[in-house]
C-alpha cells in the first residue's frame, strides 16, 4: 500500500529549523488556531505574579497542595469537557458529585459496606443519574440546560435526604481515605514517569514508522520531537516537585490518568470521533449513520460518572461528606476550568487537557490569594475576570477562524 502524494504547490511549506517553526506558528495564530497557547501564557503570568508576591507559592509543598486541591474539581471538569464538546451543558455536575459522595459515605460508615462496593455504588449513582439525564433530554427533546438545572436542584435535595438529620458523615474507611492520603515514594514515582514517557515516545515513533511505511507525508522532525519532549519535560518537572515534598500523590495520578484516558478516547476511538462529529454538525453525523442520541446519552452518563469520581475524591480529602459537598463554587469552577483551558462553548473543539490546564489556572488563583491572605471576595472577582477573558478569547479566535474560513 503506497500513496506517494505530490506536494500541492499551494501548500505553504516552511523553512526547516526554528525560523520555519516560528513562521508556521505565527501563521496558525493569525488564523485563530490558538490551541492551549492563551492558557499557558496565562498560567505562566499567574505563577510569576504570585511567586513575586510570595516566594512560598512556588515551593514544592505548596505546588503539591495545589495539585491536591484541584484534583477533585478537575475530575468534574474532564466530564464537563465531554459535554461541552457536544455543545451542551451539565449544570448538575456539582450536585451529582455531592450525592455520589454521600451515597458512598453512608454505605461505608452507616451500613458498614466494604470500601470497594461502597466506591462502586458511589460511581454507579453518578452513572445512573447521567443516564437518566441523557435519556430524558433525548427522548423528550428537552434542552440539557433545563434537564441539568432541574438536576442541580433535585440532586441537591437527594443529597440532603441521604445524609439524614445530622447532615454530616465522617469518613473512617482507610481505603477511601487513602485515595487522597497516599503518596508514592520518589523511586516509584520516577519509575512510573519513565514508563509513561517511554510508552508515549514509543507510540509516537511507531506512528511515524507506520506513516513512513505507507508512503504518507511525514511531519517535520522538530514537530515529532516536540510531541515527545514537551510532555516528558512536564512529567519530569512534576515528579521532581512531588519527590521534593511528600511524594507523588495518588489523587493526582487518578486525576491525570482520567484526563489522559478521556483524551485517548476522544482522539483514538470511534466513539471519540463521533463525539466531535455530533458537536461539529449533528445533522451530518446523523446522516453518516451515527446514533446521535446514543452518543448524547453516553456522554452525559460518562460526565456524571466523572462528576461522581470527583465528588468521591473531594470527600476523601475532606474526610467527610456534608450538606455543602459539591455545592458552592464547585460546579462553576469546573465549567470555568474547561473553558479557560480552551474547550469551546460552541461545541466540537477542545480536549481533555483543557480541564487540567484550566483547573491549574483556577486553583493557582485561589491558592495564591489564600497565601496572600486576600478575602474570598477578591478571589471570586479575579476568577470571574479570568473566565471572562478566556471565553472572549474563544469567541474572538472563532471569529478569526471564520475570517480565515476555518469555522
Amino acid at each position: 500500500m503506497s500513496a506517494q502524494v505530490p506536494v500541492d504547490p499551494r501548500l505553504v511549506s516552511d523553512a526547516p529549523g526554528p525560523k520555519g517553526a516560528w513562521v508556521a506558528w505565527r501563521r496558525r495564530l493569525a488564523q485563530g488556531e490558538l490551541g492551549s497557547l492563551p492558557v499557558l501564557v496565562g498560567l505562566a503570568s499567574i505563577w510569576l505574579l504570585f511567586s513575586f508576591a510570595n516566594p512560598r507559592f512556588l515551593s514544592a509543598v505548596n505546588l503539591t497542595n495545589l495539585m491536591l486541591q484541584i484534583s477533585a474539581m478537575g475530575t468534574l471538569s474532564v466530564g464537563l469537557v465531554l459535554v461541552l464538546l457536544l455543545g451542551e451543558i451539565d449544570l448538575s455536575a456539582g450536585a451529582v458529585s455531592g450525592l455520589a459522595a454521600a451515597v458512598m459515605a453512608t454505605l461505608s460508615v452507616q451500613r458498614g459496606w466494604a470500601p470497594v462496593p461502597a466506591l462502586l455504588a458511589g460511581l454507579g449513582t453518578g452513572a445512573a443519574v447521567g443516564l437518566f439525564h441523557g435519556l430524558w433530554m433525548t427522548w423528550l427533546r428537552v434542552p440539557s440546560f433545563v434537564v441539568t438545572l432541574a438536576g442541580l436542584l433535585g440532586w441537591q435535595g437527594a443529597l440532603l435526604s441521604v445524609l439524614g438529620a445530622t447532615g454530616t458523615v465522617n469518613l473512617t474507611d482507610e481505603v477511601i481515605l487513602a485515595l487522597t492520603g497516599t503518596f508514592f515514594p520518589p523511586a516509584v514515582a520516577w519509575g512510573a514517569a519513565g514508563v509513561v514517557i517511554a510508552l508515549h515516545g514509543a507510540t509516537v515513533a511507531l506512528g511515524r514508522r507506520r506513516r513512513a511505511a505507507a508512503g504518507l507525508p511525514l511531519p517535520p522532525w522538530r514537530h515529532t520531537l516536540m510531541t515527545v519532549a514537551g510532555p516528558a519535560v512536564v512529567i519530569v518537572a512534576a515528579v521532581a516537585v512531588f519527590s521534593w515534598d511528600r511524594g507523588l500523590p495518588l489523587a493526582v495520578v487518578l486525576f491525570a490518568g482520567l484526563a489522559s484516558g478521556v483524551e485517548w478516547m476522544l482522539r483514538r476511538t470511534r466513539f471519540g470521533r463521533h463525539v466531535f462529529a455530533v458537536g461539529g454538525n449533528a445533522e451530518a453525523a446523523r446522516r453518516a449513520g451515527i446514533r446521535v442520541r446514543g452518543v448524547r446519552v453516553a456522554v452525559f452518563t460518562l460526565a456524571s460518572t466523572l462528576a461522581a469520581a470527583g465528588g468521591i475524591l473531594a470527600g476523601s480529602r475532606l474526610m467527610a461528606v456534608n450538606q455543602s459537598s459539591g455545592s458552592g463554587d464547585v460546579l462553576l469552577n469546573a465549567i470555568a476550568a474547561a473553558v479557560i483551558g480552551g474547550t469551546s462553548l460552541f461545541g466540537g473543539r477542545g480536549s481533555a487537557w483543557s480541564a487540567l490546564l484550566g483547573a491549574l489556572v483556577i486553583g493557582s488563583i485561589s491558592n495564591g490569594m489564600d497565601l496572600l491572605a486576600l478575602s474570598s471576595s477578591v478571589k471570586f472577582m479575579v476568577t470571574g475576570g479570568v473566565l471572562l477573558v478566556a471565553a472572549s478569547i474563544d469567541a474572538l479566535s472563532r471569529r478569526e477562524r471564520q475570517a480565515a474560513g476555518r469555522a
Binding site: M1, S2, A3, V5, D8, R10, L11, G207, R210, R211, A214, G215, L216, P217, W264, R268, T269, R270, R273, H274, F276, A277, G279, G280, N281, E283, A284, A285, R286, R287, A288, G289, I290, G348, R349, R401, A404, G405, R406, A407
Partner: protein, 258 residues
Amino acid sequence: MAATPLLELKGITRHFGAIQALRQVDFEVHAGEVVALVGDNGAGKSTLVKTLAGILPVEEGQVFFEGQPVRLTGPQSATALGVATVYQDLALCDNLDVVGNLFLGRELTARGPGGLDETTMEVQATQLLRRLSVSLPSVRTQVAALSGGQRQSIAVARAMMGSPRVVLLDEPTAALGVAQTRQVLDLIRRLREQGLGVVVISHNLVDVFSVANRIVVMRLGRRVATFDTKAAREVDVVAAITGVDTTESNPRLTAEAP
C-alpha cells in the same frame, strides 16, 4: 435493463406543516441506469432524495428494493441496502479533517489497543481522492478550510466509500470547476457501467442530457413527466419543468398572433 427496478418508491407523500412537498410520487431506478431528476426550485427533488436516503421518514407510500418491500427507518437502513447519498447541503463536519469526514460513521480500527487506524484511513482517502482527481493541499486539512468546490468533491467522494449499489447525487456539480464537473460526470458514467443505479439532480440540462438515460421531471411536488433521453428534446423537458406549453411561450409563435 432489468425488469424489476433496483430501488422503487410508490405513492410517496410528504408534508412539511401546511406544505405538501411530495404528492403521490412514484419513482424508480434500475441497475445500470442513470436517472436525472429535474424540476424548478422547491419542486421536491431534495425531499424525494432524502426520503430515499432514509433521513426523512416515509409518511405515506411504499419502498421496494429489488422488488422486496423494505422499511427505511433511518440513514443506517438505507446504507445497509447500499444506498449512498451526496446531499445538496453537503452534510460535512467542519471541525473534522478530510479523512475524518470521508470515514465518518465507518471508521477503521486497528486490532489491539491502538484504536482508530489513521494510517490506513489516510492511505485509502488519498487513493480515492486521486482517483476522483480531487485536488487538495492536504487530506489533513479541516474541512472548514476548504473551498466550496473542494467541499463538494469531498461530499461526492464520501458517497463512493464502501461499495454502494445505488448512488443519489443532489446537485453534485453545482459548485464545481470545469475539470471537476467532467470528473463527476465521468464518475457517474463509470458507476452506471459497473451496474449501479444512479440518481442525479441537476439544473444543468446539458449535463443531464450528457449522462442520463431517463429524465424524470417534478413540478410542485408531483412527478409530471418522464423522458427517454435519446428521444427527448430539450424544449420539451423545459416545458415540463416550467409547466408552460411550448407553443404558448415560444416568442416566435406569439409574435405572429396579433
